[in-house]
C-alpha cells in the first residue's frame, strides 16, 4: 500500500499538517489500513527530501503545514496513470499453507480448508453489514459524500477479495475430492477409459454381467 501517494493525493487539495493527513486518510479508507502519526511524519520527511512536498508555514494553532510541489503533482498523476504492479504477487499465507498441506501426513487438508472458509465467510458477513450501513447512509443523503463513497469502494474491494478466497477454497476442496476419486478408480480398475466415463449409480442386479462400472464400487 502506498502511503506516499495517498498523502500526495490528499495534499493536492491544499496544504495540510501531519495528524490532519492521518485523519483524512483513515476517513477515506474507513481505518482499514490504520496509520500512526509517526508513519505520516516519516513519509512527509521523505517526500520533502525528494522534492515532492514542501513546508508551507503554520496554521493558526501552530501546526506545520505541508504543500504539494509541481514535481509532487507530476508524480501523483503518474501514479494514477500507472497500473498497480501485478508482476510480483505478494506472498499469500493461505496459498502457502495449502501448498504445504498437500500430501503432508498428519494434516487434514479439508479441515484446514473448512476452518479458513469459516473465517473468510465470517469476515465477509462483517464487511457486508458495514456495506449495508454505508449504502443506507449514502442513500439517505446523510453521508459526507466523498469520504463515504471512498469507504464504500474500499469495503467492496474487501468483499470481492474475500469472495475470491471463498470461491478458491471451494474449488480446492472440489479439486482434491475429484483427484482422490480418480486415484481410487485408477487403483480399482487398471483399464481407465470406461471406468471414469460414467457417473451413474452402478446397477446392482445380479443377472447382469460384471463390467468396469460395477467393479468400481
Amino acid at each position: 500500500m502506498s502511503i506516499r501517494h495517498g498523502l500526495l493525493a490528499l495534499l493536492e487539495r491544499g496544504p495540510r499538517y501531519g495528524s490532519q493527513l492521518r485523519t483524512e486518510f483513515e476517513s477515506r479508507t474507513g481505518s482499514t489500513w490504520p496509520l500512526n502519526v509517526g508513519q505520516v511524519y516519516t513519509t512527509l520527511a521523505r517526500l520533502e527530501r525528494d522534492g515532492l512536498v514542501a513546508p508551507d508555514g503554520e496554521d493558526a494553532a501552530g501546526h506545520t503545514l505541508y504543500a504539494i510541489t509541481d514535481t509532487g503533482r507530476a508524480e501523483l498523476r503518474e501514479w494514477y496513470e500507472r497500473p498497480v504492479d501485478r508482476a510480483n504477487p505478494p506472498r499469500d499465507e493461505l496459498a502457502i499453507k495449502l501448498a504445504m498441506a498437500v500430501g503432508s501426513t498428519g494434516v487434514d487438508i479439508r479441515a484446514v480448508i473448512q476452518s479458513q472458509r469459516h473465517a473468510t465467510i465470517r469476515a465477509m458477513q462483517d464487511y457486508t453489514r458495514l456495506k449495508a450501513t454505508a449504502l443506507a447512509a449514502l442513500e439517505s443523503g446523510q453521508a459526507r459524500e466523498r469520504d463515504d463513497v471512498a469507504w464504500l469502494l474500499v469495503l467492496e474491494q474487501l468483499i470481492f477479495q474475500t469472495e475470491a478466497e471463498a470461491r478458491w477454497l471451494d474449488h480446492c476442496e472440489a479439486r482434491l475430492v475429484r483427484l482422490s476419486l480418480t486415484a481410487d478408480r485408477r487403483a480399482a480398475a487398471p483399464e481407465p477409459p470406461q471406468a471414469a466415463a460414467d457417473d451413474a449409480p452402478a446397477p446392482t442386479t445380479t443377472d447382469r454381467p460384471r463390467t468396469a462400472r460395477t467393479r468400481r464400487a
Binding site: 474507513g30 489500513w33 465477509m124 458477513q125 462483517d126 453489514r129 471463498a166 471451494d170
Partner: protein
C-alpha cells in the same frame, strides 16, 4: 445478535431431521440428523457443495417433502404430523417461498400475485388487494403493482416474489438460490430486501452457493453429505476493522 433471539420462540425449528431416499444398496442419505432453529429477525444461509442436502433441507422445512424421521416445527406446529388440510393452510399462512425462477403467475399483475395467497386463505379480494398494495409499498415496489410479470425485469419479479412470500402475517421465508438467475448487482439488491425484511422481524432461510450472498446472513450453516459440519456467527464488525483481526 443471537442473544436477542434466544428468548423468543423460533419461527422454524428442525429437530434431528433425517431424509433417506431409496433403501438397501441404493439407499441415499440426503440429510443425516439436522438440528436448526431460526428465530424472528434472523437470516440463516445454508451453503454446501451440490448434493450436500441444501435443497432437501428447504423442501422439508416448507412441508413440500416428508422427512424419514425427525420434526419440523413452524411457529410451534409440527408439520410432519399435520393433516394434509392443516399443512396446506400452514403453508398459505406461515411459509413463503422464493425460487430461482420467481414463479409469479404470468396472467396476474404484481398486486394480484401478492394478494393470491391471502385470497386462497379466504380473505376477501378487496382486503387482500389492500394488504398486497401495503406489502408492495413497504418494499418500495408500489410502482410495479399493476404490471404483469413479463413487464418487469428479473430483479423486479424477484422482489415481488419476496413481497408475496411475506404478505399478511407470514414470517418465514424460504429462499432457494433466489439470486441464481440475476446479475450480481440485481442479486445484491434482492438480498438487501430479504435482509431488511428479516431486520423487520421475519425469519429467513437462504440456500445459496454464492459466498457474497451468504454473507448477508446472520449465520452461515455449512452442510456436507447431509450433515452440518460448521457454522459461523457474525462477529462485531468494529473489532474487525480496528486492526485486531489481522488486516494489513
Amino acid at each position: 445478535m443471537s442473544d436477542r433471539h434466544q428468548t423468543r420462540q423460533p419461527v422454524l425449528q428442525l429437530e434431528r431431521l433425517v431424509r433417506t431416499h431409496g433403501s438397501g444398496a441404493t439407499e441415499v442419505h440426503a440429510l443425516r440428523g439436522i438440528d436448526l432453529a431460526v428465530h424472528p429477525g434472523e437470516l440463516v444461509a445454508v451453503m454446501g457443495p451440490s448434493g450436500s442436502g441444501k435443497s432437501t433441507l428447504l423442501t422439508l422445512a416448507g412441508g413440500l417433502d416428508t422427512p424419514s424421521s425427525g420434526r419440523v416445527l413452524v411457529e410451534g406446529t409440527d408439520i410432519t404430523t399435520a393433516s394434509r388440510k392443516q399443512l396446506a393452510s400452514l403453508r398459505r399462512r406461515s411459509i413463503g417461498y422464493v425460487f430461482q425462477d420467481y414463479n409469479l403467475i404470468p396472467a396476474l399483475t404484481a398486486a394480484e400475485n401478492v394478494a393470491l395467497p391471502l385470497e386462497l386463505d379466504g380473505t376477501s379480494a378487496r382486503k387482500a388487494r389492500v394488504a398486497a398494495l401495503a406489502a408492495l409499498a413497504e418494499m418500495n415496489l408500489g410502482v410495479l403493482a399493476d404490471r404483469f410479470p413479463d413487464e418487469m425485469s428479473g430483479g423486479q419479479q424477484q422482489r415481488v416474489a419476496i413481497a408475496r412470500a411475506l404478505v399478511g402475517d407470514r414470517r418465514l421465508v424460504l429462499a432457494d438460490e433466489p439470486t441464481g438467475a440475476l446479475d450480481s448487482e440485481t442479486g445484491e439488491s434482492v438480498l438487501g430486501l430479504l435482509r431488511s425484511r428479516c431486520d423487520a422481524g421475519a425469519a429467513g432461510v437462504l440456500v445459496t452457493h454464492e459466498p457474497r450472498f451468504a454473507a448477508w446472513a446472520d449465520r452461515v450453516v455449512f452442510l456436507r453429505d447431509g450433515s452440518v459440519v460448521d457454522e459461523t456467527l457474525r462477529s462485531h464488525a468494529d473489532s474487525l476493522l480496528s486492526g485486531q483481526a489481522g488486516i494489513q
